[in-house]
Subunit: 347 residues, 2 copies
């Protein structure tokens, strides 16, 4: 069985702007090929044909960095789960893997989910808040593929897509934000409500239908029809900046009003990560979030942001199982996770 | 207002036999003076007269180390509470302090509660399991005082005392045991039941009416009438040895069957003590107990037993308030306690 061996992903390095507050910027566009049914209605044969064409287009296009095709049905379930945890594919994408695939650059900056909800979901991930740069990269990739593939396009509706919410530009721009202080002060529900009024959606750690974990939230545009791509990117970017400002104000307030409590919570979290011998992924995530906060507030020692990012993904069940050859047993995984964390944070 | 400045107490050094498992051995005898009502029925004037006679007897007796008289009504409430936390007086003893007192050697090995339930409660504290030695010390002190004071004695009933359970020898021999593994394995209720059958009482950390804290239990004889003093001492001593054996077996079993869990619990406890910035006395006690266990099992670094003992008393509310000049505010005390623990355990 072929191996997918993910991590490190480029954006995990944490070298982008505002990288402690903004884990990543992600852009995603939906495209489909003329003459084929959307993936959920296409036959397995048709899906494989589509996958072949997309991969071939990637090979022909010399302007792009080389991309590797992963055929999802050839991966083990574990390897597919690792791709989900690394944000490269959606949970939906791996449910029926036959004829579905992932075309990706080795560092994961650019990748294409093939036959997810649409034939192509082109994605770009960058560290920190860097949506404009991400869009210019993704736009070039899109142009390159369009020069080899006949995209389904309608004069009035724009790029045709499987789900109406992606009509028009088919663009979703999102940022993954770390908002512990706003969460702590219980400001998130009203913030989410007012962002919704602005056409902005706030989701959990793994997007649609997932809950917030470790005080991380995904912020993205609700619709892709109407505004131009540049408008969408600039809107999500400016909303993200506003949210960052609010989070920083909330942190100032917390430190000013409840410094001993914040010191206590962050130091305990860090100490437990460095000492536990058994820890589940939920608890690890909570402590990693508080550790991240403590580092940024200068309360804890300066753990590098790249390491803070890496541990988030590496302590996920599938990554842990994959990278440490742990048996698929939650008890053993919790021990392996604690071992990994103690070593990783022994700095 | 005169100061009582307790700690270090001799037994805290932890230099006695089995000192990690047995915090202390304590012997206590009840004596009363002829011609006076028991303290709860004596007038304040009578109590002060009694106190004066006891202190005078201590001064006259040249065979004893010098003892200091503390008149409880001259102490602040905080100083009285410190004496309780340090086991030198009972909670009952400080409730109405007028005419009551404590006569004690500077290291607290020998002391006399004056006008507690009885006119004299002579006590001896030693580190570890050392009841026989404690009895020989206390017996000599008793003889010395008896040569200067007319004890109330009855041919048939022995020393007359306020409470019938102390009739006869008036001797209570007790050990303060650390039994985390038996507690963890939920073996304590049945152990307590079978000890009761043997005429042995098991109590909490501060004796009668208190609950177990941090897995510490006080084991003592139920009655003092019938057997000789030597019988009582040897009975409590041998029961303590049996309980130690059971605790050690329980620890072996825990380590064999649940090593990762024990490593996890003990390391987390130690890490929290070394890192918390806010901690209440109950939580501190739980973690101190697990730390003590981890040290003894060789899982944690070798924290000296004297330090493990000292932190137990120093993190108590009154001691903390006294020794660090903390305001009598639980919030500030929890911060001061965490500061003290981080410093004390930064080894």
């Amino acid at each position: 069985m072929p191996e997918s061996n993910h991590l490190p992903l480029g954006w995990l390095k944490g070298d982008g702007p505002e990288a402690l507050l903004v884990l990543s910027s992600r852009l995603r566009i939906a495209r489909n090929l003329e003459g084929y049914a959307f993936p959920h209605r296409a036959s397995e044969v048709a899906r494989k044909e589509i996958r072949g064409k997309v991969a071939e287009a990637g090979k022909q296009e010399r302007s792009l960095k080389p991309m590797e095709l992963i055929e999802l049905e050839k991966l083990s379930l574990l390897d597919r789960q690792v791709l989900v945890e690394d944000y490269l594919v959606s949970p939906h994408h791996i449910q029926d893997p036959s004829g579905r695939g992932l075309l990706e650059q080795p560092d994961g900056t650019v990748s294409i989910m093939i036959n997810e909800e649409d034939h192509l979901r082109l994605q770009c991930f960058l560290s920190g808040l860097d949506l404009e740069k991400g869009w210019s990269i993704l736009n070039a990739v899109d142009d390159a593929f369009e020069s080899h593939l006949p995209y389904a396009f309608h004069e009035q509706w724009g790029y045709l897509v499987a789900c109406p919410t992606n009509l028009g530009t088919g663009l979703r721009a999102s940022t993954l934000l770390h908002l512990p202080a706003l969460t702590f002060l219980q400001a998130m529900p009203s913030l989410i409500h007012s962002l919704n009024q602005l056409g902005i959606v706030v989701r959990g750690f793994y997007g649609e239908g997932t809950v917030s974990q470790g005080h991380f939230y995904q912020v993205s545009n609700a619709l892709s029809l109407g505004p131009t791509e540049e408008d969408i990117v600039s809107r999500v970017s400016s909303v993200t900046r506003q949210v960052i400002t609010q989070e920083l104000q909330a942190r100032d307030r917390l430190v000013k009003e409840q410094r001993p409590l914040i010191e206590d919570r962050t130091w305990r979290a860090f100490a437990i990560l460095k000492s536990a011998h058994i820890i589940n992924s939920f608890e690890a995530m909570e402590h990693l979030s508080l550790t991240r906060l403590g580092v940024q507030l200068g309360i804890l020692p300066p753990v590098p942001v790249g390491l803070l990012n890496e541990v988030i993904l590496m302590t996920r069940p599938a990554n842990l199982q994959k990278h440490f050859g742990v048996e698929p047993d939650p008890g053993k995984r919790d021990i392996a996770r604690a071992n990994y964390l103690r070593n990783a944070l022994a700095i």
